[in-house]
C-alpha cells in the first residue's frame, strides 16, 4: 500500500479508537455533576454512592482517553507535516487553546474528583467535578472548532512565503465561529451526553435484571434515562440544523450523504436503501420532496446534486451514504428507546418490562455506533479535501515519511489498541460486577462531620 492509504488508515483507526472514550468522559461528566448536585441538595446517601461508583468508571475511560489522545496531537506532525505547515497558523491556535483552557482544567481538577473525597469539603468537591466536566466540554469546543475550520474555512487568508502558501488568521472570532462550528459542536456534545447517559442506563438496567443493588440501580436508571432522553431529543434538533448547514456550506457532502446524483427540486429522502454507484442512483424506500423540505422547508426547493461537481471533487458516495444513514437510523432508535423507558418509568412499570430492560442493557452501543458513523460520514464526506476547497488530502502528507515506517507504526498502534481495549473491557466488567460500594452509604472522613464542616467553611 502507498503512504497515503496507510497514513489515512492510521489516522482513521487511531482517531476512531480514541473517540470511544472522550464522549464517555463528557457524558459521564454531566451525569456526575447531576448526581453530586442531587446529593448536595437532598443529602440522600444513594446519590453519594452513585457518584462514587461512576467516578471509578470515569477514571478508567479518562485514562484511556488521555493515553490515546496524545497520539492524535503527534500524528498531525508525523504523518501530515505538509498539512501542518499549511494550517499551523490557524489550526495550531485552536489546539494550543485546547491545551491551555481544557486539558489543564480537566486533569487538574480530576485529582480532586478522584482522590479528594476525604480531603476537601462537599462543596469544593462538587466544584471540582463541575470543573472537570467543564474542561471536558472545552476540549470538545476547541477540537470541534479546529475540525470545523477544515470543513468550512473562515477568518483566514492565503499568504505565500518563499513559494510556499499557507493559511493565516485574519479574524480569530470568524475562525472560531466558522459557519459549521456551532452546529457541529452541539451535535458532538449531544452525542457525548447520549454516550454517557446510556452507559449509566445500560449498567443500571443490568443490575435491575439481575436483582442486584436494586435501590442504586433504580435511582441510576432514572437519572440516566432522563439525561438520555433530553440528549436524544436535542440531538434531533441539532442533527436537523447540522444537515441544513451541510447543504449550505458543503453541498457535495450533502449530495453524497443522500446519494443525490442529479440536482433536482422535490428531492426525495431515502429512508432505507443503498447507492448503486455504477448506475448512479439510489435503490430503496424514498419519501419524495422530504429532502427539499428538510433543507429549505419547501418541498419544491432545489437541492444541489453531485452533477454540479466534477468527478475529482466528489466524495466517495456509497460510504458517505451508508455512514450517514446508519447514524440517523441509530439516532432515531435512541429516541424511541429513551422515550419508551421514560414513559414506563413515569407509569412506574419499567422494572416489570424485562424485554425493555434487556434492550436498555444493549442501548450503550447505540450512541457509540452513531458517534463513530457520524464522524466517518463527516470526514469521508469532506473528501477529496483535507481542508475543504483549499487543500486536497494527498497534498497534506509528510514529505519525508516512507510507507514502511507508517506501516510499522500502524501495526504497533493496532496491536497496542487491541490490548488496551481488551484490558479496558475487562476492568470495566470487573467494576460493574463488583458494583457500588456499600461503604459509600456511610459518611467517612471529612464527610462524617457535616456540622463541623459547615462551621469550618464559614471561617
Amino acid at each position: 500500500m502507498d503512504v497515503l492509504t496507510l497514513a489515512r488508515i492510521q489516522f482513521g483507526a487511531t482517531v476512531a479508537f480514541h473517540y470511544l472514550y472522550p464522549p464517555l468522559s463528557i457524558g459521564l461528566g454531566i451525569l456526575l455533576v447531576v448526581m453530586e448536585a442531587a446529593w448536595l441538595k437532598t443529602n440522600n446517601p444513594i446519590y453519594h454512592q452513585m457518584a462514587r461508583f461512576w467516578t471509578r468508571v470515569f477514571a478508567l475511560t479518562f485514562a484511556v482517553g488521555v493515553a490515546t489522545g496524545i497520539v492524535m496531537e503527534f500524528e498531525f506532525g508525523t504523518n501530515w507535516a505538509t498539512y501542518s505547515r499549511f494550517v499551523g497558523d490557524v489550526f495550531g491556535s485552536a489546539l494550543a487553546a485546547e491545551g491551555i483552557f481544557a486539558f489543564f482544567l480537566e486533569s487538574g481538577f480530576l485529582a480532586v474528583l478522584l482522590f479528594g473525597w476525604d480531603k476537601v469539603s462537599r462543596k469544593i468537591h462538587f466544584f471540582s467535578t463541575c470543573m472537570v466536566c467543564l474542561g471536558a466540554h472545552f476540549s470538545a469546543v476547541w477540537i470541534v472548532v479546529a475540525n470545523s475550520w477544515m470543513q468550512t474555512p473562515a477568518g483566514y487568508h492565503l499568504v505565500t512565503h518563499d513559494g510556499v502558501t499557507r493559511a493565516e488568521i485574519t479574524d480569530f472570532w470568524q475562525l472560531v465561529f466558522n459557519p459549521s462550528s456551532v452546529d457541529r459542536l452541539f451535535h458532538v456534545l449531544c452525542g457525548a451526553w447520549q454516550a454517557g447517559a446510556f452507559l449509566v442506563v445500560s449498567v443500571s438496567a443490568w443490575y435491575v435484571l439481575k436483582n442486584k443493588y436494586t435501590d442504586f440501580a433504580r435511582a441510576s436508571l432514572r437519572v440516566g434515562l432522563t439525561v438520555g432522553l433530553i440528549a436524544s431529543l436535542l440531538q434531533l434538533i441539532s442533527g436537523d440544523s447540522s444537515a441544513r448547514g451541510v447543504a449550505k456550506n458543503q453541498p457535495a457532502k450533502l449530495a453524497a450523504f443522500e446519494g443525490l446524483y442529479n440536482t433536482e427540486s422535490n428531492a426525495p429522502l431515502t429512508l432505507v436503501g443503498y447507492v448503486d454507484e455504477k448506475d448512479q442512483k439510489v435503490v430503496g424506500l424514498q419519501w419524495p420532496g422530504l429532502l427539499s423540505w428538510l433543507v429549505a422547508h419547501n418541498t419544491q426547493a432545489t437541492v444541489t446534486g453531485l452533477d454540479a461537481f466534477p468527478p475529482q471533487d466528489r466524495p466517495p458516495v456509497e460510504a458517505s451514504f451508508l455512514f450517514f444513514h446508519g447514524m440517523v437510523g441509530v439516532g432515531f432508535a435512541m429516541i424511541a428507546i429513551a422515550a419508551l423507558g421514560c414513559f414506563y418509568s413515569w407509569r412506574k412499570v419499567l422494572f416489570e418490562k424485562r424485554w425493555l430492560l434487556w434492550i436498555l442493557v444493549f442501548s450503550v452501543l447505540g450512541p457509540q455506533i452513531a458517534n463513530q458513523l457520524g464522524w466517518f460520514a463527516a470526514e469521508v464526506g469532506r473528501q477529496p479535501w483535507i481542508v475543504y476547497g483549499l487543500m486536497r488530502t494527498p497534498e497534506g502528507l509528510s514529505a519525508v515519511v516512507k510507507a514502511n515506517v507508517v506501516l510499522t507504526s500502524l501495526i504497533l498502534f493496532t496491536f497496542i489498541y487491541f490490548l488496551l481495549f481488551a484490558v479496558f473491557i475487562y476492568l470495566l466488567n470487573d467494576k460493574i460486577q463488583h458494583g457500588p460500594d456499600d461503604a459509600d452509604l456511610t459518611r467517612s472522613g471529612k464527610l462524617a462531620l457535616p456540622t463541623e464542616l459547615t462551621h469550618h467553611e464559614k471561617t
Binding site: I70, T78, R85, S93, A96, S107, A111, V120
Partner: protein, 340 residues
C-alpha cells in the same frame, strides 16, 4: 535580541517545556525507580505519591506541543515528521506509562501487577531517554534540506552526544523523582529512598559533568552566546550552585529544599539551552543556512499576538489552580480505598 512576539513565543514554549520537565520529570523519575522496590505496599505508596498529579503534569507536554504547532508550525512539522520513529516510540512509552498507573492496582493478581509495573517503569525510562535524545539532537544540529525538511535517518539521530544527553536526562529525572518521593513518604520507605536519592544524585552529577565537558568540546555553538556575553556566565554559575545545593540540602534532610534546588537546576539548564540556541529552533548541521529560526518557522505576527492573549488569560489560571491542587494533596501519602 529584541523582545518581539517571536522571541516571546520562543520563551513561552521554553517555559512550557521547562514546566513539563519540572513536573512530569519527577513522575518519570519515580517510574524509572519503580522496579527497585519489590514490596507491593511500597510500590503503591510511590504510585500514589504521583497519583493525583501526573495527569496534569503530562498536559504541560501536550500544551507545549500545541504551542509549538501554533507558534512555529514549520518546526513542529519538520521535527515530528523527521523524528518519526522516535516520536512513535515516545507515544508508545507514554501510553504504557499512563494506562499502567491507572490499571495496575485494579486487580490483585501478582502477574497482573508485575506486568503493569514493568510497563510503568520501562515506559517512564524510555520516555525520559527519548526526550533527552531529542534535546541532544536539537542541540547538536540535524540535517535540514533547502525546503526545511529533515534530511537525515533514524539511526543518524542516535549519535553519542544525543545519547549522552538522553542518559543525563534519565539521571536528572531519577534524582528529581527520588527527591520528590522523599517529600511524600515516611518510615522505612523514606530511608530506602534516601539511598536511591544519594545514588541518583551521584549519577546525575557525573552525567552533568561529562555533558558539560562534551558540550564545550564538541558542540561549541551551544556555548557561543555565553562566551560572547560574559554576564551570562552568571546563569551557568547559578546552575552549578543549584546542583551543588542538592546534596547539601539532602544531607541535612531538608527534602523540599533539595527538591527546589533540583527544580532550579532544571530551570537554569533549560535557560542555558535556550540562551545558546536562540534564535535557532532547529539548528541545521552541516548546512546552517537551512536552520529553522524563530522567524522563518513562525506563524504570522497576528496569530502570535492572538496566542499571546490566550496564554495571558490561560496560563495564570492554570498556575493558580495547579498550586491549589498541589496544596490540597500536600504531605505524606496515606493510602485509602480510592488510591491506586
Amino acid at each position: 535580541m529584541n523582545l518581539d512576539l517571536n522571541t516571546i513565543w520562543f520563551i513561552l514554549v521554553g517555559v512550557l517545556f521547562t514546566g513539563y520537565a519540572m513536573l512530569d520529570g519527577f513522575d518519570l523519575g519515580i517510574g524509572a525507580l519503580h522496579l527497585f522496590t519489590k514490596d507491593d505496599l511500597e510500590r503503591r505508596t510511590l504510585l500514589n505519591a504521583i497519583g493525583p498529579v501526573w495527569d496534569g503534569n503530562e498536559v504541560w507536554l501536550v500544551t507545549g506541543g500545541g504551542a509549538l504547532f501554533a507558534a512555529f508550525p514549520n518546526v513542529y512539522a519538520t521535527v515530528f515528521s523527521g523524528f518519526y520513529l522516535a516520536f512513535i516510540l515516545l507515544l508508545v512509552a507514554l501510553i504504557f506509562r499512563a494506562v499502567a498507573i491507572e490499571f495496575r492496582s485494579k486487580q490483585p493478581m501478582r502477574w497482573w501487577r508485575q506486568m503493569w509495573d514493568i510497563g510503568f517503569s520501562v515506559g517512564s525510562l524510555v520516555s525520559a531517554l527519548l526526550i533527552g535524545v531529542a534535546m541532544g539532537n536539537i542541540a547538536w544540529g540535524v540535517p535540514i534540506d533547502a525546503h526545511g525538511e529533515f534530511a537525515g535517518t533514524f539511526l543518524g539521530l542516535l549519535k553519542p552526544y544525543p545519547l549522552l544527553l538522553g542518559v543525563t536526562t534519565v539521571a536528572l529525572f531519577m534524582m528529581h523523582g527520588a527527591i520528590y518521593g522523599l517529600m511524600k513518604t515516611e518510615g522505612a520507605l523514606h530511608d530506602k529512598l534516601r539511598g536511591w536519592a544519594m545514588n541518583s544524585i551521584i549519577f546525575f552529577v557525573i552525567c552533568a559533568a561529562i555533558t558539560t565537558m562534551a558540550t564545550l568540546l564538541y558542540v561549541p555553538h551551544m556555548a557561543a552566546r555565553v562566551r560572547e556575553n560574559p554576564w551570562l556566565f552568571s546563569l551557568a554559575l547559578v546552575n552549578m550552585l543549584a546542583i551543588a545545593n542538592i546534596p547539601r540540602e539532602f544531607y541535612h534532610g531538608r527534602d523540599w529544599k533539595a527538591f527546589l534546588s533540583s527544580c532550579a537546576t532544571m530551570i537554569t539548564l533549560m535557560a542555558l539551552f535556550g540562551v545558546n540556541q536562540y534564535p535557532y529552533l532547529v539548528f541545521s548541521q552541516p548546512n546552517p543556512d537551512n536552520s529553522l529560526t524563530i522567524y522563518n518557522a513562525a506563524s504570522s505576527e497576528k496569530t502570535l499576538g492572538i496566542m499571546l492573549i490566550i496564554a495571558g488569560i490561560g496560563v495564570p489560571l492554570v498556575v493558580a489552580y495547579t498550586i491549589c491542587i498541589y496544596w490540597i494533596f500536600r504531605g505524606k501519602v496515606k493510602l485509602d480505598r480510592m488510591s491506586y
